[in-house]
Symmetry: C2
Subunit: 372 residues, 2 copies
């Protein structure tokens, strides 16, 4: 029997929340980090190893998949889960952010966005209705509404206009969404760094009654302090009984700080992108594996990590692979980083259960060497 | 107790041989294919997956490893087995072929070869003694003598001179080799396509009493027919009680044809290099996964293959990954190809045991579509 799409808040510590999201393809323990599988692959990692990391949900992208291989093809082949061999839940981004950040030329109207593919320049059109249909074809457990994103910094007027258009698109997205047992649709709160806009956006979305609420328009260059400031008030505008998803975030300390401010779900390319550029996240800070001091270091990246790289290979070996531009270097570092992120989320969940999260968060941000 | 380095010929069918090589790090069933781990990695495959493919021995390269990360560093870190996390036997190529084919500038004298690194242009020197010391530092189970390779085609005079120098270098290599339980050194028969040179080379090497004999100077552009011609007579010059290794070969039909001519061991970059360029070997011939007909094909690459890609992914998905330049495409195709090669070797070994190898070989070469 497929269960209802649901969210259960199990316990809290101040604003930090320990919860559970149930979907058609399984249950997600929150706070959760979703590895990004942009083009139907978490880059340089087999899906079995993504699963082994402890990840319970991954993210796919409407923008990339509609261009290549197309939503129709994925539907013909049985949906995104089957296509990429991922049997757990999948959340898909609606394409709103990518048409803004990746496409070459675009023309936005109330109807939707006309844009040119970054791959071959071909013309495409995305609207709320079209994005929702694509996400339906992909078979997403969690569909995101199609929104209009603004750059940072944005003027108040521009942020207000985009937020209002996003509200109208949110309603059209919800109308186009096909309700099915275990499948949900999330609204996206916009409003840039303006608290009154964020409040209006949240209120109107709540009136539309979504299955969860994302916070969009952050992690676009505003910096951690400003982002935390927006989260401080925005999470208060959101209902307790629905999951909250901070889109595109972030570095480990961003995640810890956002959990402290009431966020339940995250996605970010940082662990895999860093892996491909020779950066490893560890319990003792960030390692740039290209650094000469790793040349003859027999230690693993992280003594406490259970990933394949840490169980079987030295920093010296990884240094050699990355310096030699060997694909295996990208593979091992990406997989390690995904393990690190999942271990971090496990620790966060445990700490909230034990009511020691705030202490953990304070120490984590103090000792974090990721900015060194 | 570490065993002697030994070769046992278990059974034969005409010239085809079914044997077993014992080394310090384990036993190799022959005919055997050795995946190439040039720079201490079988490209784009984790060592655990190389092992899962059924490979019992892999190959490393003196030339690449002496330049980066250096033999001294690998020795300091416990040897090549530990460095790259491969607990089975390792054979190392002496560098003779690579200084000829890869280095930028070189000056060959009776003493050795002075050359410039293809990586950074730095000057280096390789001699029989130096190559053997490097292979000792790496901890190779099977050390190859340092030889002088000539291009194809070579004049008789040039081939003769290089063969004679290689004989002198073979003796110096043997003298420099440190005998240890379970470790062996192979001579390399040279002489290009001239049968009298091949015969002299083989005879003189046999007098030096190596643990195995390689056939070098083939797979350098002479074509399959000419290569088979050289094997037809060269294998007759070699003793029955030692393993025979055809260096740098080859495509599946090359291997089947060479086994029929009495060869026991092979290495080649084809399975991994092809994997990185979108080519897959299957029981029904070669698939170019980029071909448009794979775009919506839900079948695996090879219905009978037990590799991760064939068990979990469709041709359509692999087509998408390769077209999208996703690293996972290179990973899955490389691993598949290594599995295919190991399955082929298993089939060859079984057929020789059952005395049905000749029939298999004839059908294989007829049905092989690799040249289509």
């Amino acid at each position: 029997m497929i269960k209802e799409f649901s969210f259960t808040l199990k316990t809290t510590e101040n604003k930090a929340r320990r919860g559970e999201v149930k979907t058609a393809h399984g249950t997600i323990q929150t706070p959760a980090f979703m590895p990004v599988g942009t083009a139907a692959t978490v880059k340089a990692i087999k899906s079995c190893d993504v699963k082994n990391s402890g990840a319970e949900i991954i993210l796919g992208n409407v923008y990339h998949l509609m261009l290549r291989p197309t939503a129709d093809l994925i539907e013909e082949l049985g949906g995104l889960h089957k296509f990429m061999n991922w049997s757990g839940p999948i959340l898909t981004d609606s394409g709103g952010f990518q048409v803004m950040s990746l496409s070459k030329i675009r023309k936005t109207s109330d109807e939707g966005v006309e844009f040119s593919s970054h791959i071959d320049g071909s013309k495409h059109f995305l609207s709320p209705e079209k994005s929702i249909i694509i996400q339906h074809k992909l078979g997403s457990d969690i569909t995101m509404i199609f929104d209009e994103c603004v750059e940072f910094p944005a003027t108040y007027e521009k942020a207000k206009k985009a937020m209002e258009r996003s509200l109208s698109w949110a309603q059209r997205s919800k109308n186009a969404f096909c309700q099915r047992q275990g499948y949900g649709i999330f609204g996206i709160v916009q409003g840039s760094t303006f608290s009154d806009l964020r409040e209006i956006s949240a209120q109107k979305l709540i009136e539309m009654n979504f299955d969860g609420y994302a916070i969009g328009g952050l992690a676009v260059g505003e910096g951690q302090e400003l982002m935390f400031g927006v989260l401080d008030y925005t999470s208060d505008f959101l209902p307790q009984n629905k999951p909250r998803y901070l889109m595109g975030v972030g570095k480990p300390s961003d995640i810890v700080g956002a959990v402290a401010r009431g966020v339940d779900m995250f996605d970010c390319v940082i662990p895999t992108r860093s892996g491909r550029t020779g950066q490893a996240f560890t319990r003792n800070g960030v390692i740039n594996i290209r650094n000469a001091k790793n040349r003859n270091d027999p230690k693993p990246l992280d003594e406490k990590c259970n990933c394949y790289a840490c169980q079987n290979h030295s920093r010296a070996y990884l240094h050699h692979l990355v310096k030699s531009n060997e694909i295996l270097g990208s593979m091992l570092l990406s997989e390690h980083n995904i393990f690190y992120y999942q271990d971090l989320m496990k620790e966060i969940r445990k700490r909230i259960e034990e009511k020691t999260f705030n202490e953990f968060a304070q120490n984590f941000c103090k000792s974090s060497s990721e900015y060194k």
